[in-house]
């Protein structure tokens, strides 16, 4: 099990969710992907996305300028 870090800050459309999607695709079950994003929409997007794809959202933090999400591949 490894932790994969993604810097998705300052991305325009389509944004950080695509980076997360690709990272999860190539990860092994149990791996954790940590995404840092500045796109405010990512906060709700990542919740909806995890619910739909059944990946586990371990934590989600809005630090003001940066949103950090930890997602475990199931």
């Amino acid at each position: 099990m490894k932790e994969i870090h993604i810097d998705a800050k300052c991305l325009q459309c389509p944004g950080p969710i695509v980076q997360l999607f690709n990272a999860i695709k190539s990860a092994e079950p149990g791996d954790v992907v940590v995404v840092e994003a500045t796109d405010k929409g990512f906060y709700s997007d990542v919740q909806a996305w995890c619910k739909k794809t059944k990946n586990e959202l371990l934590s989600l933090e809005d630090k003001g300028d940066v949103i950090v999400a930890k997602v475990k591949k199931v």
Binding site: C10, L11, Q12, C13, P14, G15, I17, V18, L20, F21, N22, T38, K40, G41, S44, D45, V46, A48, W49, K52, T53, G64, D65
Partner: protein, 552 residues
């Protein structure tokens, strides 16, 4: 003998007239009479006093009678004007402190009697803890209930600015707020899709909102409110705020034979003169002209009141050409938690009712460069006249900066600019302030694309009405990852980069709606499909970002 100026009313417009009059005419006696206990107070600041954002009552008053006295304006508090007799240039005034009746004579009279809250004729409106919000005392009363008597549940009737601002401020104070609005949307001066975006934001902040619902009674025990009853439910509550709107306070003027206009506001010309010589009217009690339609309208706004006061003062004893206020646009802005909304000019509803042939655009964009920390999304709506390309109105909503774009639009509309003018204005740019092409310019460019037939769009409201129709197909051209974050019901996902090779999956005979996050990729998809010979296609204005309904 000194010339006499008498002003009835001492909030914004009355005191502005007085302040400007003494600067202009040092030899004239200026008196202000008001039935209230305070003068020159910040009516628009009252919701923020309730929320303890403005801590002290004293901070709500801009000026007091002592300060006015230093400037040679005499203010008489608790003096109620009971009758105006124009033929004698006399006003009969009752001193509410002593009960004594006095005569005041004038050379020029300025009526600034403001507006009064509409109290709905429902049983229980006189119970304790049922409030309206117009005066400082109203605000003090509400805050006391929260801070000293521990009110935890409140109900606001009316989803206009005051109602929403109080709902926000009470929520910030830990009160659970329910809001009831008679119309089918909050923010009645905004178009529905913008109002719905505001509503879903406020609901996320914990406010319960019922629209299309009528308050029919207020119930109480021991004289104190316990519930608000609507035509659909009963809401337990410890406090009710009635903020269903205001009407001009013009009984006094009417009895004196002064002509009234729209909504019973005093009819004035661009010089603030009424139909009776030497009588002026300013502020919320007086009518305005809508700059776009040139017809009378009524926009009770503090900003307009101050302009009217200045104009009236300059025209009391004019030196040369009279000063004018040609009209207003109904420009307003509101902050609700971290979200801002602003509007100017005609709404789409107005434009439709007036018979304009128009187009609209709905464009999400960033308020600052996307790589600059702290940038926020805002959604811009423009309403543009098809024939002249003149911008008729604009609305902006979002967590970012909205006042700058709306002020740009208000300036353009005032100067009768076209949407092409708007697209080319040389606006200030650096990443902390704007995008290289500002959100307003991007919206103007989309409007130009629509006007020139490069793209055809559909508004979220129109699409919502058509959802489920067998003649409709919705193609979402975002990536699969984005599609999974939530899509419009019934949408099929064909990512933009697969569109050409999968075009066979799209039925040419159906009306096709293309969707992406903000509209750009849908526009690219539109161009691609047009090139492939598709005819009946449209893009969803504003994409998923500005879709005000549920996603699935």
């Amino acid at each position: 003998m000194k010339k006499k100026v008498l002003i009835i009313g001492g909030v914004a417009a009355g005191t502005k007239t007085a302040a400007k009059a003494v600067r202009e005419y040092p030899d004239v006696e200026v008196k202000v009479i008001t039935e209230e206990e305070y003068v020159s107070y910040a009516g628009c600041g009252l919701p923020y006093y309730i929320g303890n954002v403005i801590k002290e009552k004293s901070h709500l008053t801009v000026m007091n009678p002592e300060k006015f006295k230093e400037r040679k304006v005499e203010i008489l508090l608790k003096h109620k004007a009971e009758r105006i007799i124009p033929s004698e240039k006399r006003v009969i005034v009752k001193d509410l402190a002593t009960g004594e009746t006095k005569d005041f004579f004038y050379d020029k009279l300025v009526i600034a009697t403001g507006a009064k809250p509409i109290v709905p004729p429902i049983p229980g409106a006189d119970l304790k803890n049922v409030f309206k919000l117009r005066s400082i005392d109203d605000a003090v009363g509400i805050r006391e209930q929260v801070e000293k008597h521990g009110v935890k549940k409140a109900t606001v009737v009316g989803g206009g600015f005051i109602g929403l601002e109080v709902a926000e401020n009470l929520t910030q104070q830990g009160v659970k707020v329910t809001l009831v609005e008679l119309l089918d949307q909050i923010l009645p001066n905004f178009d529905r899709e913008i109002a719905l975006l505001a509503q879903s934001y406020l609901e996320k902040k914990g406010i319960t909102i019922f629209t299309g619902e009528k308050a029919v009674a207020i119930e109480g025990t021991d004289g104190k409110v316990t519930a608000l009853v609507t035509d659909k439910r009963k809401i337990d509550t410890e406090l009710v705020l009635l903020s269903i709107g205001v009407l001009p306070n013009t009984e006094l003027a009417k009895e004196a034979g002064i002509e009234l206009g729209v909504k019973g506001a005093i009819k004035v010309n661009e010089h603030m003169e009424t139909n009776i010589p030497d009588i002026f009217a300013v502020g919320d009690c007086a009518e305005n002209i809508n700059l776009i339609t040139n017809s009378p309208a009524w926009y009770p706004m503090g900003s307009t009141s101050n302009k009217m006061g200045r104009v009236a003062a300059l025209n009391l004893f004019p030196k040369g050409e009279k000063d004018s206020l040609k009209g207003v646009l109904g420009t307003t802005v509101v902050k609700l938690f971290e979200m801002n909304a602003a509007r100017t000019g005609l709404s789409e509803r107005d434009a439709k009712a007036l018979g304009y042939d128009y187009i609209t655009v709905l464009v999400p964009a960033n308020d600052r460069a996307h790589y600059y920390p702290g940038h926020k999304t805002i959604v811009t709506k423009l309403i543009v006249d098809k024939k002249t390309h003149r911008v008729l109105g604009g609305q902006v909503i979002g967590e970012g900066v909205v006042d700058k774009p709306i002020d740009i639009m208000a300036t353009l509309i005032t100067l009768k600019g076209t949407v092409e003018d708007l697209a080319k204005i040389d606006l200030a740019y650096a990443p902390p302030f704007s995008m290289a092409l500002s959100s307003t310019i991007v919206a103007a460019n989309v409007a130009v694309n629509k006007l020139t037939g490069r793209v055809e769009g559909i508004s979220p409201i129109s699409l919502k009405e058509k959802l489920g129709s067998p003649d409709l197909q919705i193609i979402d051209v975002r990536t699969e990852a984005e599609f999974l974050t939530g899509a419009i019901p019934g949408a099929k996902n064909i990512p933009l980069n697969e569109l050409e090779k999968r075009a066979g999956e799209i039925n040419r005979d159906k009306e096709t709606i293309l969707i992406c996050k903000v509209g750009l990729r849908a526009y690219l998809a539109y161009r691609t499909l047009k090139h492939l010979g598709f005819e009946n296609i449209k893009i969803l204005d504003g994409g998923v970002t500005a879709w005000p309904f549920e996603l699935e």
